[in-house]
């Protein structure tokens, strides 16, 4: 069953300084029961706004949102269920645990609102604290606890009332890297144990990949791709998704005589296969630095411009035509600056020469 459904959801803000800003642009989405679903995208792309519309903190400009088979926002009918009636759990980046209540009362709050009996509250809070490894800290106040513990309180508070859907907005970005990794596993564990549906917002692609069953990449309010982490990494739908999921090289090329000519190189071509259905005479090739091979013979001949030893691997820089690329290899064969070597791009993705979003447009939006 689909637990969260967005149908053509659009949100724009009208501000004095910038006029109308479309934060979320015609997003449609189904999030399934028991699934961990991430929103990934650069800052300002509309992740938080989407999540807040699901939570009910922002009204829609158009579209519908359903939680399971229950409508919660339908713009055309001006139908809107306030956040407190949506039976969701939510965890914020800034912890948002109440400093005037101790751990127990923080977690008990949703149950007290529902007027659950004291005995039952005690049971359920104990259960939630156990799930989040907070047992024994009931009497402590948030100011006496570490950031990780505070975020666990928020998590316990979100699950205590048996909410089926959890919304998390960058819950780990205020924690240090080590703790972040631990918490990542705990959240995943909790989700499996309780059969939760999680909507997870982050701008950290590693976090999204580690956690999600499926994820979505967004840019400037528009959904770019929805898929499982593996599929998305292996088949990014466009240049933006490709560049967002890891290090990348983009080489503009021209096609003639059945060969691939990098821009700025008239003498030598690249050794790579042209996809059968490619019918443009220009393209952009995308390759990850660690999938490019360097060979002493053959390949596209070029001179090593720069070499940095980084322990696990060596990073080289060189030109293909007039595009500088970066290569990371573990191979023992070592090249020095000034050596001439051959480049084989390996697994490449082909994208149209025109970018979907022009750079000027991106710059303009960045100000906002």
């Amino acid at each position: 069953m689909d637990m969260v459904v967005l149908k053509n959801v659009t949100k724009f803000f009208v501000t004095k300084a910038f006029g109308k800003v479309t934060a979320v642009d015609d997003v449609s989405l189904n999030i399934r029961e028991g699934e961990c679903f991430s929103f990934l995208g650069p800052s300002g792309c509309g992740k938080t706004t989407t999540l807040r519309m699901i939570a009910g903190f922002e009204d829609l400009s158009s579209g519908e949102i359903w939680l399971g088979d229950r409508p919660v926002s339908i713009k055309t009918k001006n139908f809107y269920v306030p956040p407190e009636k949506r039976q969701l759990g939510m965890v914020f980046q800034a912890f948002a645990v109440w400093p005037h209540l101790n751990v127990y009362e923080n977690v008990a709050f949703p149950l007290r609102i529902q007027r659950v009996s004291n005995a039952e509250i005690s049971d359920q809070v104990k259960q939630a604290l156990k799930h989040t490894s907070l047992s024994g800290l009931e009497e402590k106040y948030p100011s006496e606890l570490s950031g990780g513990q505070q975020q666990r309180i928020a998590l316990a508070r979100a699950i205590v009332a048996n909410a089926k859907v959890l919304l998390l907005d960058e819950p780990l970005s205020n924690l240090d890297p080590k703790l972040r990794e631990i918490m990542r596993f705990e959240i995943k564990d909790l989700q499996k144990k309780l059969g939760l549906t999680i909507v997870y917002v982050t701008h950290d692609q590693a976090e999204a990949m580690a956690l999600s069953d499926r994820m979505l990449v967004m840019d400037m309010g528009v959904v770019q791709q929805v898929d499982t982490p593996t599929n998305m990494y292996n088949n990014p739908a466009n240049r933006f998704v490709f560049s967002f999921l890891g290090l990348s090289n983009f080489v503009p090329v021209a096609l003639h005589d059945g060969l691939v000519w990098p821009a700025g190189s008239a003498s030598s071509s690249l050794e790579c296969e042209i996809p059968e259905d490619w019918d443009d005479d220009r393209a952009v090739l995308a390759a990850r630095p660690n999938e490019i091979q360097l060979t002493p013979e053959g390949g596209y001949r070029t001179r090593i411009k720069n070499r940095v030893f980084l322990g696990d691997y060596v990073e080289y820089r060189m030109d293909i035509g007039d595009t500088e690329i970066r290569v990371q290899t573990h191979e023992h064969r070592d090249f020095q600056v000034g050596d001439v070597c051959g480049v084989r791009l390996g697994k490449v993705k082909w994208y149209p020469a025109e970018d979907e979003v022009s750079d000027e447009e991106r710059e303009r939006r960045k100000v906002i």
Binding site: A55, F57, P82, Q93, A94, W98, P99, I113, A154
Partner: protein, 574 residues
Amino acid sequence: MRAGQSLRGSELRRMEGSRFNTGQLLLVISTVILIITVVLPVAMIVYNVFFYKWSFDWSLFASMLTDPDNLAAMWNTVKISFLVTTLGTVVGLFFAWLIGRSDIPLKGLMKSLFVIPYMFPPFIGAMAWGLLLAPRSGYINKMFMALTGGRTPLFNINTLAGIVFVELCYYFPFVFIQVSGALERMDPTLEESARIAGANQMTVIRRITMPLVVPAIAAGAMLILISSLSHFGVPAILGFSNGIFTLPTKIYELIYRASGSFEGIRQGASLSILLVAVVVLALALQRRVLRTGRYDIIRGKSMRPMLIKLRGWKAPLLAVCFVFLAITVILPLFTIFGVGLLKAYGVPMKLANMTLNNFKYVLFESRMARDSIRNSFFLSITSAVITMLVGTMIAYVIVKIQPRGKGVLEVLGILPYSIPGIVLAVGVILTWSGAFYLNLYNTIWIILIAYIARYMAFSMKSASASLEQVHDSLEEASRTCGASHFESLLDVTLPLIRPGMVAGFFLIFLPAMRELTTSLLLYGPFTRTMGVAIYSINEEGYTVQACALAGVAIIIIVLGELLLRFVTRERRGQ
């Protein structure tokens, strides 16, 4: 010389460099200054009340305590300040919430309008309300009686209720400012998590927002309580004629009636001790009732708060705001300037009866009025400069040097906060009119000393705040570069806190310009301040001239306030 070779003590001394310790010196200077300005007057009060001709004698204090008049004054003080604090807190809280968390329009405008009463000298407000609501002669009461044809006035301002009303108008901004600030700084996700947890808007206000702003409410309410307990101007102007006394006005009356005789001053001093006891007790009580922690509610990276939609309530609540502002700000202002322009008090307020003569009189003709303006400027500027410099020095010692014994400094520094102006004045009289071979009575210097003692706490507080923002590492970096402690202070810290010091100057200059209580006990024939001049011209029945001078004072204060805003805006712009 090889490393590790043993050295003789004297050689070590030499290698240590200068042993002159700026910190210790500043600590000593600061302590001495605070003892002379703050501790001495208080000690003199206690000594003069309980000792007579070098022997312990507490009969005076006992007789003062059992006098029914004094007890009535004490009871009035308690009643007035309790009501003003409670009502002022409710009003301030209501408006702060309305502007901070609802979708009421014109927020920016209202926010600046709501702090205006804060700059308005309350005793001038009391004068205005007296002109409007005095039982027989008040403009509003006269209109009301003409309309109804009866002889009963609408409201008699010369009552306890009247005094409470006027003080309320000028003291609610304390809570308003504190709570508005807290709501602005509060992380909205604290409230949003409660919504998601199933609480509706009213429950969130009750269970989350309110408890989190309690520290701000407590701080604001405490300011109202202290101010109201020690307030002199409003009960003096509205209460005397009707025989209503509070402790501060009773102290004044005792000393005034004895026309400066030692016996009168000793009686005033006894009541001063009583007043301080009441203040301390009230503070302790309030601390028990509003026992608070300090919460960390500062916002992280977050959205603006969700505003509560007022829907049908929007128009009525907006109307409430504007009516309230009209009553507390516009009406009194209008009255002061209107009456100040009249040819004579009592004639109807018509254009034909208007003249600029009163303003001409107070600005150019009356020697006394002109002197008072000059005196106020001299006193305010001098005391602001001195307290700002000394306060910064003391704050520097407390915040940055942190020597052993800084606790004493802190206590001495905030002591004047809980000492009412009138008490301080009594102490200053006892100290500086010959007790220590120095008689400054009737000179302007005795007022200056009193101002310095009174405003030192302000200046220490604002200087501490700006010093705490200068990170230690900045000065340390400079010392690592070879600058001495003193040089780093001059070259690094001072330039960084200079904007804060300029703002601190105005924070003393402005209240000093409208000061009444202390100067009223200390002034001599040629050392009236503006407050004293307005008060005494008004008491003598020259109402229109008093209003004209009050108008001049208001214009000066507003200009100063604008200058302050301009200065602090510059700072934020950097």
